[in-house]
């Protein structure tokens, strides 16, 4: 690791000014992505601004039909939240299946979506549930927040403060895991609220998380795994790597989507 200065401010406003006044400041949340990156010397920030001391980023609250989750809530907090288990059990289950227990005890919601790894789980939940992402500057729809591989709409010194998830009628997330890291080779989140159905895919897309309109249309007419028979996702824009070819990922999207619909019950 290269040298850096470390700061732990107590408020969002102080964290923003600490990053903005540093030569090359970066926020530190759970560190489960950032510290491995620094250890490999893939980044050289002048200052790490730790968000761990900011109480206002650490809460989960129910507001009518939505659940608001603070950015510094760890995967273990989300998995264990009684509110989320009651309102959006699919989201609690997703968080409880990220990485391993030690990663879940440190890694956070805000860090995961700010990083937007194409194989991360949360982006699929945000897109399928129609979540909105609140920062210190504005509120964005998930569609507008995730802009590409490891790319988001966040500007310099902009902090994700919370994510608001509308509770769906039914939802389920199923992933085909990389057996070593538990990252998604393909993960599909299906959510149904009234007549509206959303299908979001992570792990596969060349441009990160995406929705599958053909599947959504078929499921809106007939919410059953059978309705997905014959709907193929083209491998053209999917990733190929040592774990899976684009063709295999395209196949897995169909399988995971059918399983997710079945898991919705």
């Amino acid at each position: 690791m290269y040298e850096f200065n470390y700061q732990r401010p107590g408020s969002v406003a102080d964290a923003v000014s600490a990053v903005k006044s540093a030569d090359d400041g970066q926020f530190l949340a759970g560190g489960q992505t950032l510290l491995p990156t620094l250890k490999q010397r893939l980044a050289m920030p002048s200052d790490l601004v730790d968000l761990a001391g900011i109480g206002e980023l650490k809460s989960i609250s129910v507001d009518g039909g939505t659940v608001v989750v603070g950015a510094m809530m760890r995967h273990a907090d989300v998995a264990g939240s009684a509110d989320l288990q009651a309102k959006i059990p699919a989201l609690a289950a997703l968080a409880g299946d990220i990485g391993d227990r030690q990663v879940r005890n440190r890694g956070t919601l805000g860090g995961s979506i700010a990083n937007n790894d194409p194989a991360a789980d949360y982006p699929a939940a945000c897109l399928a549930l129609g979540a909105t992402i609140t920062t210190n500057e504005r509120t964005l729809a998930a569609e507008d927040f995730f802009t590409g591989l490891f790319e988001t709409a966040l500007g310099e010194g902009e902090i994700v403060t919370s994510v608001t998830f509308p509770a769906p009628g039914k939802a389920a997330y199923v992933k085909f895991k990389n057996p070593a890291s538990r990252y998604a080779i393909v993960g599909v989140f299906v959510a149904k609220t009234g007549a509206d159905v959303r299908v979001a895919v992570t792990g596969a897309g060349g441009g990160g998380v995406f929705r599958v309109p053909e599947m959504e249309k078929a499921l809106a007419g007939n919410f059953s795994a059978a309705a997905l028979e014959g709907i193929a996702v083209s491998p053209d824009d999917l990733n190929s790597d040592i774990h899976a070819s684009a063709d295999y990922r395209a196949h897995l999207i169909g399988v995971m989507a059918r399983r997710a619909v079945e898991a919705c019950g």
């Binding site: 850096f4 560190g31 761990a52 273990a76 391993d100 227990r101 030690q102 990663v103 440190r106």
Partner: protein
């Protein structure tokens, strides 16, 4: 540029001068001489470095010492009391839960958090709960057996 960190390690207050980039595992091993916590991979995968921060298992190769400021850290060295092994350590010994022993400190620390409040934890739950710990020797069978026995013993 060094900074001062203070935390409680195995029940004792400690203070040290570290660089902000010093990892918690380096602080424990190099500054405090607590070499029971191992570094197996350095890529956040193997779990040989697992310690507890405020009772929760954490990979100490993927945390900075400064992030542990003000916390209670427990390592494998802190488990035995007055020369008597912790029930989970004893269960590993009794059930041949180790061969070379390199993964063992992390396995034991992960296991203690995993079984807390779950004396009847199933074999399947133990195997799933060990996702973050890798062993190159045992094939896991006796580790799972040890943790099941340790869970039962910790109840009493």
């Amino acid at each position: 540029m060094s900074v001062t960190v203070s935390m409680t390690v195995n029940g004792k207050a400690v203070t040290g001068e570290v660089e902000p980039r010093t990892l918690l595992v380096q602080f424990l091993r190099d500054h405090l001489g607590l070499t029971g916590t191992h570094v197996g991979c350095d890529t956040s995968q193997c779990g040989a470095c697992v310690v507890h921060i405020d009772g929760e298992s954490v990979k100490s190769c993927t945390a900075l010492a400064v992030q542990a400021e003000g916390t209670e850290v427990n390592t494998i060295e802190g488990l035995a009391k007055d020369g008597v092994l912790h029930p989970m350590q004893e269960a590993f010994r009794e059930n041949h839960g180790l061969q070379c022993g390199f993964c063992t400190p992390g396995m034991v620390m992960s296991a203690i958090e995993l079984v807390r409040g779950r004396p009847d934890i199933s074999e399947k739950e133990i195997r799933e709960g060990l996702e973050g710990n890798i062993c190159r020797c045992t094939g896991y069978h006796n580790i799972v057996k040890s943790i099941k026995a340790g869970a039962a013993a910790m109840k009493g």
